[in-house]
Amino acid sequence: MNVDYIVAMLMISFGLYCLLIKRNLIKMVIGLEILTFGIHLFLISMGYREGGIAPIVTSTNPASVVATMGVDPLPQALVLTSIVIDVCVTAMLLSLAIYAYKHYKTLDTSELRRLKG
């Protein structure tokens, strides 16, 4: 049982709990961030190989050694893309939280329940 997978699942469940239960808008954003980081950790640890080396071709590690002993670099590229998307969404959520604070002088989410039906 790999330690990475256990930690990733713990992070996903903590993030989900924080997103659903907390009432402050900034804490909801932090919960969403922890959820996304848990998924990224899961994705990177998917490419692990036992006793592997970093997938960089240097003078001591020619391409053949990297091909047989290196960890998988594709999930790392996927996670890099996903981190960029996550930065954009977090920036937008925090800007809207600034607007919310300017309007209501408080960040409690019971004001969001006003739109019903």
């Binding site: 960089i56 981190i83 800007s95």
Partner: protein
């Protein structure tokens, strides 16, 4: 927002050019070392943020105004798309590596990866600068 104490001002003034240089190094060596466009762009914008936090919004805007940031952001993305269209004009498919590849391990090698990294680095730095300017000056209209 106003600036900070004298120690922070001196430290940010002395360190900011070196951080900028380090960011440019990471962007340019994207095909040889870990890093590339996105982390390099974030480090470049850290140099501007050091000035913004240390000296206040007006001093940082005098050095790198929001209009310049907005225009550079679009120019960065246009470099990215134009590099892809270069392969289209030379007769192959989109984003084909048609520039001569050098030997592996040199700085000048790996075809179109260098212009792609530069385009992404400029776009990320300018984009994050626009976001940070907008967020850090959001409460100033209230105080006036």
């Amino acid at each position: 927002m106003a600036g900070m104490t004298l120690i922070v001002k001196t430290a940010s003034r002395l360190l900011s050019p070196f951080v900028l240089l380090f960011g440019i190094y990471i962007v340019l060596h994207g095909h040889l070392t870990p890093g590339g466009g996105f982390p390099g762009g974030v480090i470049i914008v850290a140099a501007i943020v050091m000035l913004l936090l240390g000296y206040g919004a007006e001093a940082a805007k005098a050095k790198f105004s929001p209009l310049q940031a907005s225009v550079s952001e679009n120019i960065g993305s246009l470099i990215l798309v134009a590099t892809g269209l270069l392969g289209l004009f030379l007769g192959f498919n989109f984003m084909k590596n048609a520039i001569p590849l050098g030997t592996t391990g040199n700085l000048y090698s790996a075809g179109i990866i260098i212009p792609l990294n530069i385009g992404v680095g400029i776009k990320v730095a300018a984009g994050l600068a626009v976001i940070l300017y907008a967020m850090l000056t959001a409460f100033e209209e209230e105080e006036k």
